[in-house]
Amino acid sequence: MKYLKIFTILVTILGLGLAFQSRAQEVNSLRGPVDLDQDSNAPEMKKYPKDGKPIARDYVQQPPLVPHTIARYKINLKSNKCLSCHSWKNYRQFDATKISQTHFEDRDNNVLANVSARRYFCTQCHVPQADAKPLVENEFKPVSAITGE
């Protein structure tokens, strides 16, 4: 019995030790399974396409994507770089997509004479797209009403 007891304790200690060891190797934080004293490898920076034709929408009411780079474009209370081409006054000159009329409505459905504050900060919804591999598998398919197929 005595030997069995000692054997059980030894097995438990060994088991716990192994468990802790394997746990230590599995710690996977946001910086990846990298030891604290080592630099993690940042993923390669994605490049946005410089300029292209409008990107087709994938679902109803999707905010249209931005088919060009918008690096260093400023949007603040003094100016809005996007609207310098996409406003109703400017879109013809710059051959740009014009801002939707829905953007002139405030939250009480009053139509304003200029862009509504809640629709002013374009990049809240409209974002450029890099050609990146999806992080998780995705089988989403747009409906035929959108693709026209």
Binding site: K50, D51, G52, K53, H68, R72, K74, L77, K78, S79, N80, K81, L83, S84, S87, W88, K89, N90, F94, D95, L112, A113, N114, V115, A117, Y120
Partner: protein
């Protein structure tokens, strides 16, 4: 009193007479040599002094420049970019050709006046004046057909095949319409002023 007032014109008259009289004791050669050498020194000195006021270090020695326009400029493509070419303040704001440069430097005396008056010695004062200051620069660039831009950028040297769809269209039209860089490229090196008065449709509010 009356003697003094009579003396002054007499002194000017005698100085004029000395200047008009041919040199007696110095040879023509030495007069020419002294004139030539001092000419080089004065001319070289003048241009050296002018060049000393023509670099970024001098420009941002005033806090008005360092805290406002320079701080904003550090976030733009002309300060940091893919190829590592950097434009400094005078590259865009001071003409390269001598005659235009001197005119600009004389105009800068107005900036010294406003430095002394403290016209933009706080961020708030600067913001209040920003539209006017920006419009001054836009007007000057329009008048010179964006001369300082063209020291580096030239429509004729552009390879439209390398440009994006938007750029090709705009630059082709610029070639046809004889429009100039600043017509579109505003606010590329510093923040834009409040655009409500310039293009109300491109900014929030009525």
């Amino acid at each position: 009193m009356s003697n003094q007032s009579e003396n002054k014109p007499n002194f000017l008259k005698s100085l004029w007479r000395v200047l008009r009289t041919p040199s007696v004791s110095y040879s023509l050669g030495s007069v020419l040599l002294v004139g030539f050498v001092s000419g080089i020194i004065f001319w070289g000195g003048f241009n050296t002094a002018m060049e000393m006021t023509n670099n970024e270090e001098f420009c941002i020695s005033c806090h008005e420049m360092e805290d406002n326009v320079y701080a904003e400029y550090k976030d733009t493509i002309h300060y940091s970019n893919r190829t590592g070419v950097r434009a400094t303040c005078p590259d865009c704001h001071v003409p390269k050709e001598w005659q235009h440069k001197v005119i600009r430097k004389i105009q800068a005396s107005n900036e010294l006046l406003h430095k002394a008056l403290g016209s933009i010695d706080s961020r708030e004062k600067f913001e209040a004046k920003r539209l006017k200051l920006a419009q001054n620069v836009w007007r000057a660039m329009k008048q010179t057909d964006s001369r300082e831009c063209r020291n580096c950028h030239d429509l004729d040297s552009m390879d439209f095949g390398e440009q994006g769809r938007r750029a090709v269209k705009q630059h082709s039209e610029a070639l046809e319409n004889k429009s100039t860089c600043i017509d579109c490229h505003k606010g590329i090196a510093h923040e834009l002023p409040d655009m409500h008065d310039v293009d109300p449709t491109s900014v929030i509010g009525n």
